[in-house]
C-alpha cells in the first residue's frame, strides 16, 4: 500500500506559468501576482494523484515536488 502523497511548490522557482492551476485546480492556488502555491498542507487525496503528477510534469520551471510520506 503506497503512502500518502504531498505536493510542494518551490516559490523561488515558480514564475507563474499557472499550468498547475489549469491542470489540478483542486491542488493549487494562485496569489495576486499569479504565482502558485499548494492548497493547505499539500496533501493529495487518492482521487487526485493523477492530476498531481500531471501538474508536476507540465511545470516549465520544475518547481513542483511530489513526496511520499
Amino acid at each position: 500500500m503506497a503512502g500518502k502523497l504531498k505536493i510542494k511548490v518551490d516559490p523561488d522557482k515558480c514564475q507563474g506559468h499557472a499550468r498547475c492551476k489549469a491542470l489540478a485546480p483542486e491542488l493549487f492556488e494562485l496569489d495576486e501576482f499569479g504565482n502558485a502555491h499548494e492548497v493547505g498542507d499539500g496533501s493529495v487525496p487518492d482521487a487526485l494523484v493523477e492530476k498531481a503528477h500531471l501538474a508536476r510534469s507540465n511545470c516549465p520551471e520544475f518547481a513542483i515536488d511530489i513526496t511520499e510520506e
Partner: protein, 407 residues
C-alpha cells in the same frame, strides 16, 4: 535621409547555417524546422558574424540556462537587429529590464493578467471572434490571417486599455515597423515609438482627469516600490510593452493553430468531438509552433553547454527551437494534441515569463473554439499561398481558407 531614399541593407543568402545563420533568410521564414535540426545536431550553441555577432542556443537545456542566467545575459536589447540602437531607460519594462529593476516592474504588470482577471474578459473575446466571423462566413472563404486571427488580439488589448478598438490598424502598423522593418532599418523603430507616444499621451491626460477601470487608469493609479506614482515614461513604456508584446504574438499563435487544423482534419474532428481536449491541444500548438524568439545581450564571458560565449554578441533566444528539441520532447516534430507531458517554453522561462501568457491562452482557446463552432469544415485554399512573418515573431500573415464545399 528620408524614408524613401534609405537603402535597405540586403542580407546575402545563407550557405552555412552552422557558422553564418540569419533568421531573416527567406528559407528560415518559410520552414525553419529543418534548419534548427541541422544546427542542433552540430552544436548546442551556434554563432553568426551577422548582426554584429550573434549566438543561437539550439537545445532546450541551453535555452533554459541562458533564460535563467541574468548575470551574464542582459535583456536591455531584446531584438536582434543589424544595428544596436542606443539603450533607453524604460524602453518596454519589464521585458527590457534586468534585476534589480525587473521585479518591481514585473509585479506591477502581473495582477491585471492573472487567470481570474482573464475570466472577466472572456465574454468580450468570444463576442469579438463572432463579430469577425459574421463579416466573412457567408463568403465561403477568407484570408483568415488578415480578417480573423489578426484582429482578435488587437481588439482585445484595445478593450483592456480602454482605447478605441477601431484604431486597430494603426497599432498593427506600429508593431510591423518595430518587429519586422526595424531589423534592417532602425529609423522605423524611432518613428513608431514617436507616433505611439503622441497617440497615448492624450489618453493618459484624459485618464488622469477622469479615471475609469481600464488598464491605462490602472497604470496611472499604480505606485512604484517606493510608494510613488509612475512617471509618464514608465506608463508609456508599459503601454508600449502591452501593444508590442500582446498583438502579433497572439495573432501568430492563433494563426498557426488554425493553419494546423486547416491541414489536419483528424485533429479538427477530434477537437469537435472532444472539446474538453482544447486546452491541452493549445499547449501542443504553443510548443510545436511557438511564435516568439526573444533575445539577450551577452555581457560577461561564460560557458553554455560546453560552448564558450563572449561579450558584445547578441543571443537569439529561440524558444521555438528549444520546443523542437527531441532530447526534451519525444516525437518533437509530431503534433500530438493530447500530449501529456509538455514543459514547453513558448512563453519563456525564468523571471521573464510572458506577463500576458494567461491572456494569450484565453484568446487562443476562445478563437479556435468559436471558429470550430461556426466553421467546422475548412481547408487551406489550394490556389492560395500561406505567407509567414519574418524575424522575431513567427506566424501566418496570409492564410487563404475555404469553408465546406466552397471551391
Amino acid at each position: 535621409m528620408s524614408d524613401t531614399d534609405r537603402v535597405m541593407p540586403e542580407h546575402p543568402p545563407v550557405t552555412d547555417w552552422i557558422h553564418d545563420f540569419d533568421h531573416t533568410d527567406q528559407r528560415w521564414t518559410d520552414n525553419p524546422y529543418p534548419i534548427w535540426d541541422e544546427m542542433r545536431k552540430a552544436s548546442p550553441v551556434v554563432h553568426t558574424n551577422r548582426f554584429q555577432g550573434c549566438y543561437l542556443p539550439t537545445t532546450y537545456e541551453a535555452v533554459r540556462q541562458i533564460s535563467h542566467d541574468t548575470e551574464h545575459f542582459s535583456s536591455r536589447r531584446v531584438i536582434v537587429r543589424d544595428e544596436r540602437p542606443e539603450v533607453v531607460r524604460n524602453a518596454a519594462p519589464p521585458i527590457t529590464s534586468d534585476p534589480p529593476e525587473h521585479k518591481p516592474a514585473k509585479q506591477l504588470m502581473l495582477p491585471p493578467f492573472t487567470p481570474d482577471a482573464m475570466k472577466k474578459l472572456e465574454p468580450r473575446v468570444r463576442a469579438i471572434c463572432n463579430e469577425l466571423i459574421d463579416e466573412f462566413i457567408a463568403d465561403g472563404k477568407v484570408d483568415a490571417a488578415d480578417r480573423y486571427t489578426k484582429h482578435i488580439p488587437v481588439r482585445t488589448i484595445a478593450h483592456m486599455l480602454g482605447i478605441p478598438e477601431s484604431d486597430s490598424d494603426v497599432f498593427i502598423k506600429w508593431i510591423h515597423m518595430i518587429l519586422e522593418l526595424s531589423i534592417k532599418d532602425e529609423s522605423k523603430l524611432m518613428q513608431a515609438v514617436q507616433e505611439m507616444t503622441a497617440y497615448f499621451t492624450g489618453f493618459i491626460e484624459e485618464r488622469r482627469r477622469k479615471p475609469t477601470d481600464d488598464l491605462i487608469s490602472y497604470l496611472i493609479k499604480a505606485k512604484d516600490k517606493d510608494g510613488q506614482p509612475l512617471d509618464d515614461s514608465q506608463v508609456l513604456g508599459s503601454l508600449r510593452l502591452l501593444l508590442i508584446a500582446g498583438i502579433d504574438t497572439t495573432w501568430s499563435g492563433i494563426g498557426a493553430s488554425l493553419w494546423h487544423l486547416a491541414k489536419t482534419p483528424a485533429d479538427r474532428d477530434r477537437l469537435i468531438r472532444e472539446p474538453e481536449l482544447m486546452p491541452t491541444a493549445i499547449e501542443e500548438f504553443l510548443r510545436a509552433y511557438s511564435p516568439v524568439t526573444m533575445a539577450r545581450e551577452e555581457m560577461k564571458e561564460t560557458v553554455i553547454e560546453g560552448c564558450p560565449v563572449k561579450p558584445n554578441n547578441m543571443v537569439l533566444l529561440s524558444f521555438p527551437a528549444a520546443n523542437r528539441d527531441p532530447a526534451m520532447f519525444p516525437d518533437a516534430d509530431k503534433v500530438i494534441i493530447d500530449r501529456k507531458e509538455n514543459r514547453h517554453a513558448a512563453f519563456g522561462l525564468g523571471i521573464h515569463r510572458c506577463v500576458g501568457s494567461n491572456l494569450a491562452r484565453l484568446e487562443m482557446i476562445v478563437a479556435i473554439e468559436e471558429w470550430l463552432k461556426r466553421i467546422p469544415d475548412f481547408r487551406l485554399d489550394p490556389a492560395g499561398r500561406v505567407a509567414w512573418s519574418q524575424g522575431t515573431v513567427r506566424g501566418p500573415r496570409k492564410m487563404p481558407i475555404l469553408f465546406g464545399k466552397a471551391k
